[in-house]
Structures are given as structure tokens and as C-alpha cells.
């Protein structure tokens, strides 16, 4: 029988980009990583648009007011709120990551005793506080920035 893969490189089994998004039955910290990446890319795209929009200032009052009239529509208001929410998520999660990257709030290593609980799960309360703060700020900004307008 002809060998289908004879002489070929071994079959790669990398998950690829979908390994960022969903890779198995992991806990919330794994998906906070995905959320941090998505919000970061979203904010990067927004900052690009924001800089281009600000560039219309160079064209004088008329050109500035033209671009502002486009951004005043309700679709852009929703977009602005999403940018706010993305900033809140990225900033708070980034602050948590910075503390944990420096080993702060992770505790000390200790000899493992079954059932094993790793440092991220031992210090879960920090994650819950951060998520509660994210939710509170997201709701507050929704009311203050969008509904209240």
C-alpha cells in the first residue's frame, strides 16, 4: 500500500490561533488572557481611528465639524461605550497581570500536597474583586455615558 505521508514531516498538531480563543475545559484565568488580547487589539484599532480623526483638525473648523457630525451618530455612541468597556477590562486586568508578573499576590512556593491548588487558584479572591470592579465600572459607564446622554 502506498504510504500517504512517507518522507513527509510529522503531522503537526498545534492548536494555532484557535488555541488562544478556546482550547479546552480551562478556568476563567485562561479566558481572561483571551479577553485581554481582544480588548488590546480593539483599543489599538480605536487609537488608530482616533488619531486619524484628530488629524482633521489640521483642515480647520469646517473639516473638524464635518468629522464630528459623523461621530455623533448613535452607532458611534455604542462604539464609544465598547471602547470604554474595553479600556476598563484591559486596564484592570493589566494591573492584575503586572502585579502577578512581579510575583506579588501569588504567594510563596510550597511543597505540593494533593489535592493540588496552584497559586492562581489560591489567590482567586483577587480575580473576583477585579471582575466585580470591571462589572461595576462597565454598568456605571453604560448608565453615565450612554443611557444618561
Amino acid at each position: 500500500m502506498e504510504a500517504a505521508n512517507k518522507g513527509k514531516a510529522p503531522l503537526q498538531n498545534r492548536l494555532g490561533i484557535k488555541g488562544w480563543a478556546w482550547a479546552g475545559r480551562y478556568k476563567i484565568e485562561r479566558y481572561l488572557y483571551t479577553l485581554h488580547r481582544l480588548t488590546g487589539l480593539g483599543l489599538a484599532a480605536y487609537i488608530t481611528i482616533h488619531m486619524i480623526a484628530n488629524g482633521f483638525r489640521l483642515g480647520g473648523q469646517g473639516s473638524w465639524e464635518d468629522i464630528m457630525s459623523i461621530f455623533g451618530t448613535s452607532g458611534f455612541k455604542v462604539g464609544e461605550y465598547l471602547v470604554m468597556a474595553a479600556f476598563i477590562i484591559h486596564a484592570l486586568n493589566g494591573g492584575r497581570l503586572m502585579l502577578q508578573h512581579l510575583g506579588i499576590t501569588l504567594g510563596k512556593p510550597k511543597p505540593p500536597v494533593y489535592p493540588y491548588v496552584d497559586s492562581l487558584r489560591r489567590k482567586r479572591s483577587l480575580i473576583w474583586v477585579m471582575l466585580a470592579l470591571m462589572a461595576a465600572l462597565a454598568i456605571y459607564t453604560l448608565v453615565a455615558f450612554v443611557i444618561g446622554e
Binding site: I47, M51, G55, R57, W64, G94, G95, M98, F145
Partner: protein, 111 residues
Amino acid sequence: MREVHWKLLQYIAGIGIFFLVGYHLIFSHFQSDEITEWSSVSDRAANAGWLTFYVLILIFGIYHVLHGIRGIILEFSLPPSAVKVLDWSIVLIGVAVFGYAVYIPINGFIG
């Protein structure tokens, strides 16, 4: 500079963005009706304090974004030989974007 130094600058930029952009968002909300009016824009453009504020946001923001994007590109199995090309491309893009973006408030300040 080593990778650890770039990462430290990333943390510093992140802290800077947290405070500066946080203030920028809060300020934008409380002045939401007037902030985009041409008169308000012109007033801020002529203010040295606001100019400094915008320049700092641009420095921290552009560095943080480009360093983050560099990390994501590296994660696509970029071979070690291409890393230098990536680094220089990021630097050139960063300088170009910063040059364009900082010209706007400087133009408003001078003009």
C-alpha cells in the same frame, strides 16, 4: 537593551496610560457637549499643559500598543532571523505614527 528592559518600559507605559487616559476619558465625559466644539478644541490646543498631556499620552500609548503587537507577531513562530526586521519595522512605524500624531497638537499650539 535586553527584552527585560522593553518589558519594564511596557509596564511603565501601562501605568502612565492608566492615569492619563483614565483622566482623558473622565474629562471627556464631564465636558461631553462642549469637548468636541471647535472653540473648546482651540482653547486646549493653545494650552501648554494640554500639549504636554497629549504628547505624554502619545509616547506611552504608541509604545504600549506597538510592544503588544510585536509580542503577538512573535507568537506566530517568527524565526529568530526575522526578529530584527520586525523590531526595526516596529520602530519605524512607531516613529512615523508619533511624528504624525504629535504634529497635530503642536500645530494647534503654534498656529
